[in-house]
Subunit: 137 residues, 2 copies
């Protein structure tokens, strides 16, 4: 979205709803899996993926099933050095959806830029004169 | 983290675990609330926040309670033009934690940069010769 268009939406209903943050991709463990796979077009073996994401066998299997069911990840069975292996990689649709998701993530970061300047005087926040007539809930 | 240090971690266990993606902040609706508030140091009235995030009264209340309990958001009761109002804003701790969260989000985006180049020939993915001996799971 252009800077102009973003400005126009300022204050609009749903301005910060972030519809592009699809919950299938946004979940922390699945985001780890997708980012690991994104960096490796040739795919990753189950064991390597598990280590990179610091997930247990059971958790990785569970999240891979969700991603596979959504058509975002391909799971292949085969052999490497005579041992059965599972190879995981992004599907073309997964690549496309992950790119769209990343765009929305970048929107979040752009929207949040204001907080960085503000944080410089975070210590003065509680002395805000605006709040003199307000009480904690 | 420096480029050098990131390179050193390449392939390391937990490389993509993203421990900084605190689930309290990472949940989609709460991320919307935090980003809305980040842009407004003076805070937002409940009704305005609800519109910006496209949330229902019940959902906004529920997520605000979680954020308040975690000490990330302050909720104040007061009056504006003689009408009772609720004012929400980031706490100093919330600002700090949100900044740390944003840093980790930027790590995700940096890690995922590879997928953008790859996506240019996404159409050739299924003809990968590496997969000739593998079968779909």
């Amino acid at each position: 979205m252009s800077e102009r268009k973003r400005k126009d939406r300022e204050g609009e209903a749903g301005r910060y709803a972030y519809d592009g943050l699809d919950r299938v991709l946004h979940e922390k463990a699945r985001l780890a899996i997708l980012t690991s796979l994104a960096a490796r077009p040739e795919g990753l073996l189950f064991g390597d993926l598990k280590e990179l994401c610091a997930l247990t066998d059971g958790n990785l299997s569970r999240h891979l099933r969700i991603l596979e069911k959504a058509g975002l990840v391909e799971v292949w069975k085969g052999f490497r050095e005579r041992r059965p292996q599972t190879l995981c990689r992004l599907s073309p649709k997964g690549t496309e959806r992950f790119l769209a998701y990343l765009e929305e993530l970048e929107n979040v970061i752009r929207d949040a830029a204001a907080v960085r300047d503000r944080s410089k005087d975070a210590t003065t926040l509680n002395k805000d004169p605006l709040l003199k007539d307000w009480v904690p809930a």
